[in-house]
Symmetry: D3
Subunit: 319 residues, 6 copies
């Protein structure tokens, strides 16, 4: 297996295959165009600038293509970058599958699937379990490969399922601690809450928003599919079971200004919103701290009101 970009040290000569995640064409001060690349391999993403780009190079180096990157690993203000010396598309007999070059969830798809299936089994209400099972079959391939977001959090292969599992674990803890919480509603809602991302986004490689995603958003997109599933299973869309489950999904952003057409009106919907927020937040803070030296503040985290987080001088006890 090839060496990964984050196996190289600062100053090393690099020569490796990566996938183009973003390729932003800009104009330099001298009037010539250049491409601001983001490359990625399973160890993470890194930027590089390609100066004096010719139109055919701009046309050739599109997001999603695998390329052979030659140059030097450099560091600028604590952020790694590559000083490019040469760049070309991978040949057909070389590593060529874009999906092989994007970061992945810290556990395998099989593990995620097995764990999620255990929560599905714990859904005692038959309607909800059937709906969840039906939709997990229908969306199986995308659900286990898509990221949970374009950039902010869980933006990796399998990120959507991994984010879902994280919420389910928290949900179990909450369910055990507080009486009167309907765990099965919480589990069913958690599993479906972001499934619409598989329609809103283009996929795990060089992720973009689809037109449907931009015009309708993942909340509305998946709500419709739940109702479709109800029809397929013979469940009335206005039956309380259907209404409660749909509400779990449409209310999970918590506030209208975050895109939920209604605010949570069920204890379980309120909890799902909190846990979704908590997991995404922890993921963002951890991401920021992982690029921060001990005793320093991180750079500003866009998704958290541009706050900076402090990495303490000493770590957790088991460090």
């Amino acid at each position: 297996m090839q060496r990964k970009i984050y196996d190289y040290a600062d100053g090393d000569e690099v020569n490796l295959f990566m996938v183009i995640k973003d390729a932003d064409v800009r104009v330099a001060k001298n009037g010539n165009k250049y491409i601001a690349f983001t490359f990625s391999d399973p160890s993470g993403a890194i930027t590089a600038k390609y100066w004096d780009a010719h139109p055919d190079e701009i046309a050739r180096f599109q997001p999603g293509r695998v390329v052979l990157v030659t140059g030097k690993r450099d560091v600028y203000q604590g952020k790694p970058q590559i000083k490019l010396r040469h760049l070309r598309l991978a040949n057909t007999n070389e590593p060529n599958d874009p999906a092989a070059f994007i970061p992945a969830a810290p556990c395998s798809q099989e593990q995620l699937e097995e764990e999620i299936n255990q929560y599905v089994k714990a859904i005692t209400n038959a309607n909800w379990r059937q709906i969840v099972e039906f939709m997990l079959r229908q969306f199986h391939d995308t659900f286990y490969t898509y990221p949970a977001a374009k950039t902010n959090h869980h933006a990796f292969l399998g990120g959507l399922a991994y984010h879902t599992v994280s919420i389910l674990r928290l949900a179990r803890a909450v369910g055990e601690q507080y009486q009167d919480v309907r765990c099965d509603l919480l589990y069913a809602g958690a599993i479906l809450h972001d499934l619409g991302k598989t329609i809103e986004l283009t996929g795990p490689v060089a992720t973009q928003y689809t037109v449907a995603g931009n015009l309708l958003g993942h909340i509305v997109l998946i709500d419709e599919r739940i109702v479709e599933t109800c029809a397929a299973l013979g469940i009335d869309q206005y039956d309380e079971d259907a209404l409660l489950l749909r509400h779990m999904i449409i209310a999970h952003h918590g506030l209208l200004e975050y895109g939920s057409p209604e605010r949570p009106a069920l204890l379980e919907a309120e909890i799902l919103h909190h846990l979704d927020d908590l997991d995404a937040t922890i993921q963002m803070v951890k991401g920021a701290l992982s690029q921060t030296e001990r005793g320093q503040f991180s750079s500003r985290v866009f998704g958290l009101d541009n706050r900076r987080f402090y990495r303490s001088q000493q770590g957790s006890n088991d460090d």
Copy 2:
């Protein structure tokens, strides 16, 4: 035909049938319960208090029931009320249909229907026209009888269709004035934009929110039905025609904080939002001014940030 409540002058003895629109049970300072009624007949709504209400009276005088009201027409701070002397349910051989006692749109259902059908014919895109025709057939009875809102504006029999016609007329004027506006998209969106109210609300008499309305809201509720209609007509829900039309409806509140899960991203969606807002606003201001003396300010209008509006000393030229 019986005399209407607003045919009576202040101080008149009244004796007429009305429907109970609201019946709010409260406790008086002496510890006894009373009912704060809102009655209505086609000329409008009026309040009255029923003192020392017995439990069986509370049970009997439910919203939606027709009653014979005996008492005196009174005025308090410019607002009319009835001082009740006697109240009883209407008998079976007396006027008894609640719908006969609620205010109605200023034109007949036939007129509304005929005018709306002309706009439907002007929808040149076949997909949109089919969807609109299908849904107008499906929701025919409720669309032409429901109010457009519980209280704020167009809260009368046929208010929903009347509000829709008003927007369509404005839409035609806008379409004629500005090039590049797709009139048929605007018409189709206008006709469907509030159709979800027929699922969100209980009906024209003693209007309340349904559980589905409270948990999902009329935007999400009707979006699902549009997709269902697409399926019935063989139109792919992710075809651009379907996406554009769905976007028209889900974005029509304009702002996320007003419950639209996405903000308008089409010229026509932006226009529909403006026209919807304009028509509702005019209706609210006119309603407030109609209860205001010339040269005075109205009472505060809840739906318009509690503003007061001035009724000028002289009216429009054709007054």
Copy 3:
């Protein structure tokens, strides 16, 4: 043991000892004064009106006094109340301890203490453990009896410790799930986060704000005591251990507009804020739903943006 107010059914004659929680003197429409009481016993709180109150009665029936309440249990708009027939102070040979008449946490002080002590033992950092132990000793009596708030949530005997335990349990689940979280910092912060309430509030009976509470708030009040404790233990207040722990407490409201002078800048501070919010929210929603019929919406919850919550027709599986 005497029968409790919520053991009585609607319409029952009541005759029992309760404590006065609130006694608000108002003027009736007839110009006479009356007292709007809130009484409580361990089963909960209930309101009652005392008409035509004489000055000496107003002076006598102060919050915190135990009284013998005679009258009828009544219901008004779903909310229970008492129609008073007679009221007098308890005699010295009658039940007389106010603390015996306020609701209490669902587990005993011993249980709370034992569970909290286990978390204290799990604080591996010696500085934090010493500080926590020192302060738990110092505030022992108030920490285990005070409520967590005046009205909104956990407003019962032992509510502060119970709220603390709830957060600690959630904290353990989060700590187990996410690497890099310093559990001992999270535990130490959770235990101390609301300890300032014991200085901000007057106590568990007829809870009011102290002048110090109104002028400085519980965050500032306890921060000072932590530094005092550091001094007593020989820990430098500007040592990182002290700074991190103090930050946990001062940032736990999450937002400046909620009274935190700084926003969370540590992963653990961010988590503590989320868990504090989650536990308080669940407690408020559960409180609202416990007074709501199945298939109905609750009354508006002040502490949650006046939202109403739906109690579904069917309960959790173990109901």
Copy 4:
């Protein structure tokens, strides 16, 4: 007539006269100064960079001057620009009138004037008609040449009058549709609402804010002139006719935070605000879409909360 900049294709050599709309002096990374130009001719505006600018060139190439532009038409991120090869001021015997090089309203000044005069005739209230006639005479030259704004919308020669006509047309449609609207007040208000722009801005070429505009704003500036006109015509400034008309103008921004010192308190003022907003919005969306490919989203529109708008794959039926 000379070829216009938007008659040239991408890559064409260009050699034509244009006016300097903006000339922003900046420092390049090499420490030398350059000028970021915006040129315009009647077909629109285009940017260009002038490298290594000498102080005398900076002094010479001022906004408002006509220049001969030689270079190549280029495209960068969908936005056209010119790669300059040479630049010089136009000679006295060359095209030299700056006003000839700015975009103009899509209809002639005569057409605008004729149409506006028809609305003036429809003002039946003698006071309002006299005021409007007086002020249109007084501001005749600027009213028909000024833009309606510096950049956001209707930023072209005659834009102010064109924007006014658009609102008047919408106003007529609204007036026909809703009873009780005083059309003449609406027309008078519409004609005067932005007239203060002629004092707030410097003119159609290289438009800037005047000191009076910056310190007082167009609303206050024109209000004063209305009162002055009343005095000239012998109308009491506190007569209701004067008050109503002044209110139309000062309230037309709708919200205090948009610079209206009072919110609309007349039905007609509310309508004027809506129509003003609607026309400006349509103009901005159309402007953004005109630079967008079919099936794509526009770039972000600053004046509309940075939203992006979608240009559908198919156009309006009459395309």
Copy 5:
């Protein structure tokens, strides 16, 4: 001279002339109307309820009328009130001038006038001094008698001039302390800043908003009069002197949402806004504290975000 209402102790029989400040007709729970009065005499305002009011009594007891009040001085929740036994209009041979019964500024009109004239003399810029002198002559009678607001602050006879003097004193201190502040601009702006209140309000007795005040507001109303004054004095309204002075007035509310059409853009305008705010705030806090016992918190102050203020146990050193 007659005894004043605040010379009476709680429980005293009262029999004195007062003016009706407000007379709000309401409906009692028994269905009869009553009048909620606010009376005032020079010592302050006090409320009273008049039960079972007949229509002719409602017509007779209008705001602004002097009445003979007979009853008992009472206290309710710390707020004084009168329990009425009898009420009648003052006869022609009895004290009858409403202005004699409203609270007045703590210094005489002569003192205010003399002090203001000293500041006028300190205006070295001839244009500003002339404008100020002209307008003080023109508005002399109203400027020295009007209140500065309807209720919030300085709501007493001469309150406007008193508020103006207070700001002028602060302005002098600021001017002495900071170089580069143009004191004469600050003085001129301070004197004119609220002069529009004399057009916006009806007068010192039973103060209401005029129609002009409601439709245009005091800022716009006085701006117009300044320009009129410029014309009378031959000063060009677009001369910098005129623009700066007008800006002082229109920007003095500081924020657009407080009704200033522009935010301060001059050092002196910024200072005027701060001093206006500071003086009004101090006046409101002092008013609230004057009705508060030592060691207690005041009731909520509406004009200060409903904050409560603490009156310390010990007063200032010179108490």
Copy 6:
């Protein structure tokens, strides 16, 4: 004494010692690193770019170091800069004390100290005077040298004491003007209000935030020290004197969103907040205007909502 940077004219060759205030390493478009310097000497701060910076140069030219700067004084968009030709660290026998190269308050430390001591003597309450005296002794060295902020206002040597004196002078004027203001509380609060800056910031040279400052903020940091002082002096921290003084400091930001954990609840705390705001605002506006030509608007002031301020054509009378 050496010539200062603002003694040089635009275009002059410069050769002088300055201190490095900021040294921001960036990457140029050619991929090489450069340092964006801010230098300062007592006459003010100025920027310069150091191209193609080698790693050892980056390591050498750290904030706080004194350097010999050789190059040319230049101007860019009205802002002065230096075009560097050479740069080296000062030798040990050359001017070398960083503190000698930063701007200082316009009066000497002795003057500030003397003036502040006079206000201390005017604190009649013995507790407050003792606390203030104790803390001024304890923080003597830092209080008289630190700036009042990192950049916004009073960012110079002695700025903190100078800002404090400015507020004290305003406080005296307010105290003289309004009865019932406790001057000694106001003085004591003013002296201590920003003392926490000496713990929050690193010092007058190359000012940064400390970790304690970032995690706790100057309000919390100094509150703790006040309590510590109380203990040293034998004053109970819950005594009203202590509570009032602590409240003065913690509430002085006025709003929770500005970092005050409580809003002002004392007349004196409200006044202190206003005066603090007023002095900082005047300082910022004056700073902006000092870099603005007459008849022009300043650049946008970040600390004042990005407003621009106008410098009038004529100055104050004593100019």
